[in-house]
């Protein structure tokens, strides 16, 4: 079974009557048991993209795609009940900010069992306890009867992961799972996700604004800017040889543990994304006339996909003072 687990083609999301799309013509694939990351700042569309994969967008969002196929099922044409089954059994989701994702007036156990019919609750509860132990929650059985306030952020996220695993999914989507957590807890949680991916053959789609977080466990990374996919590459290649000016700039503006201290970081300009041509051309230091008129297509350079007219010159033309790998 070597066909990709998830195939997405030309996915578009627009909110209300906004002219600028939240997600614009994004196409990508996720292989089985692969670990992939989507990186971007706020407004890049990464969270919207993740939610649209399981059609969990709000009522004023217009989703259109040429294809969204998950394990043979066409998500775009799936019925409500088919979708519910997929969300429960095949695609697990972990959301950001554990503190606001839970209903404070119901126990953790009841909330995790919500998606399952009452008749199966007993057996599902047994499985849930097993998974909670797998994710490292002590005394899982009694913890299920605790309310969310008795859990720390890290434990809440672990509980959410346990819940996401219940249906034995083949894909786990984690949207900023560690942003609200301490750095040390974050590291533990990422290790857990990494273990789950390797031990269970679980495909992992990790969404984050933090490249350091992503670099630890993702094999491939996609970079998004203003709703568009600008670069996709193996994580190591992305960090050492970025091919898109935005990626270069983003890396240069991130302080790392090894670069020279006390010098000004690269500051991406404040101008908004361009309406015409390449979406990054308004801020790009190597933009030429063509960039402002013609939208660059995603081209394949080795194992990288990049949307830039000058991608093969990026290495030589752009200054970078980052050195992410210690």
């Amino acid at each position: 079974m070597n066909s990709p687990l998830l195939i997405v083609n030309e996915l578009n999301v627009t909110y209300g009557d906004n002219l600028h799309a939240a997600v614009s013509n994004v196409s990508f694939e996720v292989a089985r048991a692969a670990s992939m990351a989507i990186v971007g700042e706020s407004g890049s569309g990464k969270s919207t993209l993740a939610l649209s994969l399981i059609r969990l967008l709000g009522p004023n969002a217009k989703l259109s795609a040429d294809t969204i196929v998950f394990d043979g099922t066409n998500i775009m044409s799936a019925t409500k009940s088919q979708l519910r089954k997929i969300r429960r059994d095949q695609i697990g989701t972990v959301f950001q900010d554990p503190f606001s994702s839970w209903n404070p007036s119901r126990t953790v156990g009841t909330q995790l069992l919500d998606a399952f019919p009452k008749s199966s609750h007993e057996s599902v509860r047994e499985t849930l306890i097993d998974y909670m132990e797998v994710v490292g929650i002590d005394r899982a059985a009694s913890r299920l009867d605790d309310y969310p306030y008795r859990f720390s952020g890290g434990l809440l996220q672990r509980a959410m992961i346990a819940g996401a695993l219940l249906g034995n999914p083949s894909l786990l989507i984690a949207d900023e799972p560690t942003s609200a957590l301490d750095v040390t807890v974050q590291a533990e949680l990422l290790n857990l996700l990494d273990d789950l991916q390797h031990e269970r053959g679980l495909a992992l789609l990790l969404i984050s604004h933090n490249i350091a977080v992503v670099s630890k466990i993702s094999e491939k990374t996609m970079v998004m800017y203003a709703g568009e996919l600008v670069e996709e590459s193996s994580t190591i290649d992305l960090l050492t040889h970025p091919k898109h000016p935005y990626t270069v700039n983003l890396l240069s503006s991130t302080p790392t543990m090894s670069q020279k201290r006390k010098i000004p970081l690269f500051a991406i300009s404040n101008k908004g994304p361009s309406d015409q041509g390449c979406v990054y051309s308004s801020k790009c230091s190597i933009a030429i006339a063509q960039c402002k008129i013609e939208k660059p297509p995603l081209i394949i350079l080795g194992s990288t996909r990049v949307a830039c007219h000058r991608s093969n010159e990026v290495d030589t033309l752009m200054e970078h003072n980052y050195d992410p790998i210690t």
Binding site: T184, L239, P255, T256, M257, Q259, I268
Partner: protein
């Protein structure tokens, strides 16, 4: 030379909802004029409490805080305004730090008006100076906070804090709520003003890479106590505390094989011994029994780890 800020044996305990929280315990820290000291810690480390104490917004329980040798408690009682002119703050939430009903101009003029500095003209002149110092256009002055972006707002807050020409800026997670690219801009502003004005900073953050970038010295805090202190490069290259080592590993772009895993532990802090001992992979009986303190281990270096010479052999 009298240090600008001297914190000696400071402890602060909060009593809320029947619980007692030892937010800060036995903190010793000094900052000299023009120095940038980065305070790194996670949630519950006590770093924000320490910021409140240094700013005089909360009273200390034990110990003393001195500003240029004068006790903070006395300063606040006898001449609070002169204290405020020496120590200023920048907080984590750029939008919430400003009164939503007041224009940017009003907010920047506020400190000048409170302290009766200058007259209407000179104050407006100073405001324009401050805006340009932080890289903002004068047109920003007439706007309301909700009309500006997070990066612009944080610059406004920096401008406001600098209005009184303070000697010390206490920055409590000033870039944590900002996007990476905006964070870079604001960090550059901090670097720039430090360069130009020579203002000392107590830069508090949970992000070690950010703190490293801006600080001359780093202080690591955990569970209300100081774990390690030293010159930035030294601490980052050769840590002298297991917790610092963990932070370093978590902050770098390394693959997980290089991590030293922490012991999974309950959230409550131990009532005695090293606060990190429940999670420390090197902890032994004596770590859990002995109350630890920051002690000098080298020139300009201190650590509270009693086993550091066994663990770190470089």
């Amino acid at each position: 030379m009298t240090p600008l800020l001297e914190i000696r044996g400071v402890s602060k305990t909060f009593h809320t909802h029947g619980l007692t929280v030892n937010a800060c315990r036995d903190v010793d820290l000094s900052i000299n004029e023009g120095e940038v000291v980065g305070l790194v810690g996670e949630s519950g480390s006590g770093k924000s409490t320490l910021a409140s104490l240094v700013l005089g917004l909360d009273p200390i329980d034990t110990g003393s805080i001195r500003i240029f040798g004068e006790d903070l408690k006395h300063l606040l009682k006898k001449d609070p305004k002169s204290f405020r002119r020496k120590v200023q703050a920048v907080f984590q939430q750029p939008l919430l730090s400003l009164d939503s009903r007041r224009s940017i101009q009003w907010s920047i003029l506020e400190p000048l008006v409170i302290h009766g500095i200058g007259n209407k003209e000179t104050r407006h002149e100073r405001m324009r100076e401050l805006l340009s110092l932080v890289g903002l256009e004068p047109s920003v002055a007439a706007r309301l906070p909700h009309q500006l972006s997070g990066g612009q707002l944080q610059r406004v807050n920096i401008a406001r804090a600098l209005a009184l020409e303070p000697k010390l800026l206490v920055c409590d997670e000033p870039v944590s709520a900002l996007d990476v690219s905006v964070q870079a801009q604001v960090l550059n502003v901090f670097l720039d003003i430090q360069n130009r004005l020579g203002v000392a900073m107590l830069f508090i953050s949970h992000d070690l890479a950010v703190t490293r970038h801006i600080s001359d010295r780093i202080v690591v805090m955990y569970g209300g106590k100081l774990m390690e202190m030293g010159e930035t490069d030294e601490v980052c290259r050769s840590p002298r505390h297991p917790y610092t080592k963990t932070l370093l590993e978590a902050s770098s772009f390394l693959k997980r094989e290089s991590y030293t895993a922490l012991v999974p532990a309950r959230d409550e802090l131990p009532s005695r011994g090293c606060p990190f001992s429940p999670r420390c992979p090197y902890a032994q009986e004596m770590c859990r029994k002995t109350n630890t303190f920051l002690l000098p281990v080298d020139e300009e270096r201190s650590s509270s780890c009693i086993r550091f010479h066994e663990i770190f052999d470089d």
